[in-house]
Symmetry: C2
């Protein structure tokens, strides 16, 4: 039979990156396209010990149905932890557990946006979130990103000129794909603008703990006095993405609606995984673990940037040195589009993502590509960036 799909999904395309990953089983393929945490970042022994202990001491809780809000001890611990460490959350806020931070984007949109409402996002921005927004038939409005965060003038124009803006979506730390971190001034300004135009902010912070140089900046949620910021946290980059555990801190008048939506989607998040996260946070030295991760990514990023300096910069490719996160965005001279450059790189078995995938309109011509330095081995980093240099030599 012929299927008639819903209007909302007709235009929705699979993530180009995830599609790329599916075809990346060739052992010679060099994986700069993914956003996987480094394999050496997983606390394998700890997770082994924790899993065995949970299944020994508390197996029924780990295997039985649970409540939609999340595993109570994890919720309570994270609330205190987020408050004490980051000043996130106050007495009017609630914390719920989600199936990865991706589900926060989904639940926020589902709860708040009617079809045709507007969401303002950074341009470029994380394709997974953009697709989540698109899947509710909202109007996406991209505001250019600068080296210190979103362009405030264009943001204000967008707030003024779009009808029914529901929220501004931002990744303030080591943004995906740009690697950009929003300055303190802009964090304050974006909050003021949200207040002035009475819209919400969806603050997505999967990489915040992965700062390996420079000073931590306060989250936008930490300024929030009137329940305007929905904060999304994730264990994917600091523990394990396969476990699919994230969380959301938002006003307690907002979270119950998100919980009702979550019930209709997956009932609750895998409870065993929530217990693993809780045990890891409480029974091990989490700060030391984070320091270890920062060291892993500092080394990798430095290694990658030195190679870029050596092999790509001579051909006019530019980038900003990153202070954390997993990605570097490289600007290529405007003699070849990002898509064509990435195709050429793919011919050499190097997977990088053309920047247009991160735009509201993926058909826009674009001259940058995203390079991930957490997934490949050091050997692959060296070989891959050399090959990108050869690509540049050929086409630039």
């Amino acid at each position: 039979m012929e299927y008639k799909f819903s209007e909302r999904v007709k235009s929705l395309k699979p993530s180009a990156i995830r599609e790329m990953l599916k075809n990346s089983s060739d052992p010679n393929y060099i994986p700069f396209a993914a956003g996987n945490p480094s394999e050496e970042a997983f606390p394998l022994e700890e997770i082994k010990e924790i899993s065995a202990r949970i299944l020994c001491e508390n197996p029924i809780t780990a295997l039985q149905y649970s409540v939609t809000e999340g595993y109570k001890p994890l919720i309570e611990y994270l609330k205190t932890f987020m408050k004490e460490k980051y000043n996130i959350g106050n007495e009017d806020d609630e914390l719920i557990i989600t199936s990865g931070a991706q589900q926060v984007m989904n639940l926020a949109t589902k709860s708040l946006c009617n079809e045709g409402d507007t969401i303002i996002c950074e341009a470029p921005s994380f394709i997974g979130s953009l697709n989540s927004f698109r899947s509710y038939k909202v109007n996406l409005c991209g505001v250019p990103l600068e080296n210190d965060g979103i362009n405030l003038t264009i943001l204000e124009n967008s707030l003024r000129n779009n009808l029914n803006v529901k929220f501004i979506y931002t990744i303030p730390n080591f943004q995906n794909p740009s690697g950009v971190t929003m300055s303190l001034e802009k964090r304050k300004a974006i909050y003021s603008l949200a207040k002035k135009y009475n819209v919400l902010i969806l603050e997505d912070n999967p990489y915040g703990d992965l700062r390996f140089t420079g000073e931590n900046l306060p989250s936008i949620k930490s300024f929030d006095t009137d329940g305007r910021v929905i904060y999304a946290g994730s264990f994917s980059k600091i523990l394990s993405p396969g476990l699919r555990v994230g969380w959301c801190v938002a006003n307690k008048n907002l979270t119950p609606r998100m919980v009702v939506c979550k019930q209709t989607e997956d009932v609750h998040t895998n409870i065993f995984a929530q217990m693993v996260a809780y045990e890891f946070l409480t029974k091990y030295d989490f700060n030391k673990h984070i320091e270890r991760l920062q060291e892993i990514y500092r080394k990798r990023a430095t290694f990658a940037m030195d190679l870029i300096d050596k092999y790509l910069v001579p051909y006019g490719i530019k980038y900003n040195r990153v202070e954390g996160g997993l990605f570097i965005l490289c600007d290529i001279p405007k003699t070849i589009t990002a898509i064509d450059f990435c195709k050429k790189a793919m011919e050499k078995n190097v997977g990088i993502v053309p920047g247009n995938n991160f735009l509201v309109n993926a058909e826009d011509i674009c001259y940058d590509f995203r390079l991930n330095y957490s997934t490949p081995s050091y050997e692959q980093l060296e070989k891959g960036i050399k090959l990108l240099g050869e690509t540049a030599k050929e086409v630039l």
Copy 2:
């Protein structure tokens, strides 16, 4: 600030049952309201062994990002298994892994239904699915359920009189909440009607393996020659609900859209849990495990029905003997509504669910309640049904 919620969630209420469960921590509370598998049904030793082995042999796969479609070995195994054991799936079908069967309902609706389209469901039906449908602002049309399944005359009238019917939602085996199993004739008839009116069928089969008496009937999907049936399977009742792993068998032109939607919701299902399911299916005697479960539920159901005969039937409460699944629907004489009866039972600390919760319009007056016999202990079953008898004595 004041929040403006989306139209689609404004009318959405949290599941009355899940809300009830949250307040059920009183040790004297008797849990007949849930739908939890019996604790003795979990293969604890096997899951312990499997988990340790996965984290020893293949930890990175278990903790890293994975593909949205699901864990490849599990997909391949389930495809063969479903085909060989149940004649489900043909060369035009694909199988994808979901975060519980609940996500199948969500993805099918999201992919296929525009706001205002119609979904036809059994009345009564599973509240979790109804809420998932409601969350996309579809028009729900309930068709009365008889002892052998949906009323075909009313079904055909509904197909004729509703605009844009996208699918018929049915739980053919040991339906939740009614316990009803659809006859073979009706299974064939519903498929013919779907064909005649060119609509799809969403066949939800979480309880099919839990038949403890009588003969298995073929699934509607097993008749499907033109990709008209979306089949939802689940590990929740046969392995563990806490793991949140289900699957969907549907035409391969349909599943890619569901996969794109899944990407926007939770990226992929917890991969460790998928590996546990795979190892359990392949390294242990699954048929023997299912026989053990059937024995567990046969004993429990028989015990519960004998008590109902003794304590409730004398007061005019009626029910149909069940042949599988987890639920018994009890009809009370029309001198008191189900809601009032359940409130009276709750005063005695017995949690049962009034039938109106399973209707399209939960405000409808209703004279039945759902009793679950898998969650409580035998002691609680005895004590609780006695207390329901006392309630009946007082109010009927």
